[in-house]
C-alpha cells in the first residue's frame, strides 16, 4: 500500500518513503534493503523520510535496525529530511536514535558519501 522507491547512484541506494507505512511495510523495507545492499555491494543507503508526517517507535526502531544491518554489510545508512515537528515529537516520546546518522537534505546526505560530484548528479537525476 505504500510507495517506496529505491534507485542506485554510484553505489549508494537512494530510498524515498512516499506514503503511510504499516508495520509490515516497514519490515518488508528492511528486508528488501538488506538484500539489495548485499546484492549490489552498495556502500551506502540514504533514506529520505521528508514525506513522513510521523515516525513512531516502531518505525524508528526499524530505521535503527536497517542502519545496524547495513553497517554489518559495510554500507552506511543516513536518514535525511526528518521534519522538525517529527524530531520534536520523537524526543518527547523518549527516542533519541543514538548512533543513527542524519542529514537535513538529500544533497547533504549524499555529500557524506563522496563529495559534491555525486550530490550534483543526484540533483540532475
Amino acid at each position: 500500500m505504500s510507495a517506496t522507491s529505491v534507485i542506485e547512484l554510484d553505489g549508494v541506494l537512494l530510498v524515498t518513503i512516499q506514503g503511510e507505512l504499516t508495520d509490515h511495510d516497514a519490515i518488508a523495507l528492511q528486508q528488501d534493503l538488506t538484500t539489495q545492499v548485499a546484492e549490489r555491494g552498495a556502500r551506502g543507503v540514504l533514506i529520505n523520510i521528508s514525506a513522513l508526517e510521523i515516525v513512531d517507535s516502531f518505525l524508528a526502531r526499524t530505521l535503527h535496525e536497517i542502519a545496524g544491518v547495513t553497517s554489518l554489510l559495510a554500507a552506511e545508512t543516513v536518514v535525511v529530511g526528518m521534519r522538525p515537528e517529527v524530531a520534536i515529537t520523537l524526543v518527547e516520546l523518549g527516542l533519541t536514535l543514538n548512533g543513527l546518522r542524519t542529514a537535513l537534505s538529500v544533497s547533504d546526505g549524499l555529500s557524506m558519501f563522496g563529495g559534491a560530484s555525486i550530490a550534483r548528479r543526484a540533483e540532475g537525476a
Binding site: E20, T22, I54, A60, I88, T89, L93
Partner: protein, 141 residues
C-alpha cells in the same frame, strides 16, 4: 463544559487499523485547529496506543471525542480492548519496560506527549487508555 459525543470510532483488528486510526486522528485534529507540532504529537501517541491495543490487547477500538472547554477545545482518544489487562501498571508505564521485546516507550511516551492521561485495566478483562490533548483557543470553525 460540554462533551460532544464520540466523533469517530475506528476498529483496530489488524495492522491497517493502526494506519486508519492515525488518519482519523489527523483529520479531527486539523479540523479543530491544532498546531502542526500538536497534530504530530497526537498522531504519534495514537499510533503507539493503537499498536498496543492490537498487539497486547488482541484488538479493540479507538474512539475520538471532542470536548468544548472555556477558551479551548480538548481532543480525547480512548483505546479500548478486552485483552489480558496489565498486571503491573507502574511497571508498564516505566520507560524501557516491554513484555514483548519492544523499546517500551509506547505507553510512557504517549503519556508524556499528552496533556492528560488515564489508564484503566483489570486482569483478564481488558484495558482502556485515554489521552487528552488541549488546543489553545476556541475551535477553528
Amino acid at each position: 463544559m460540554t462533551t460532544v459525543p464520540t466523533v469517530r470510532e475506528v476498529p483496530i483488528r489488524a495492522e491497517i487499523g493502526i494506519v486508519q486510526v492515525r488518519q482519523a486522528v489527523r483529520e479531527v485534529a486539523v479540523s479543530v485547529g491544532f498546531s502542526l507540532v500538536d497534530q504530530t504529537k497526537l498522531v504519534t501517541a495514537a499510533s503507539e496506543l493503537a499498536r498496543n491495543t492490537l498487539k497486547h490487547g488482541g484488538g479493540g477500538v479507538a474512539e475520538i471525542e471532542l470536548e468544548q472547554r472555556v477558551g479551548s477545545t480538548a481532543l480525547r482518544l480512548r483505546f479500548h480492548d478486552k485483552g489480558p489487562g496489565i498486571g503491573d501498571v507502574e511497571l508498564a508505564l516505566r520507560d524501557g519496560y516491554s513484555s514483548a521485546g519492544g523499546l517500551g516507550l509506547g505507553l510512557s511516551g504517549a503519556r508524556r506527549l499528552a496533556d492528560e492521561f488515564d489508564l484503566e485495566t483489570a486482569r483478564g478483562e481488558g484495558t482502556t487508555v485515554t489521552v487528552t490533548f488541549v488546543a489553545a483557543g476556541p475551535a477553528a470553525r
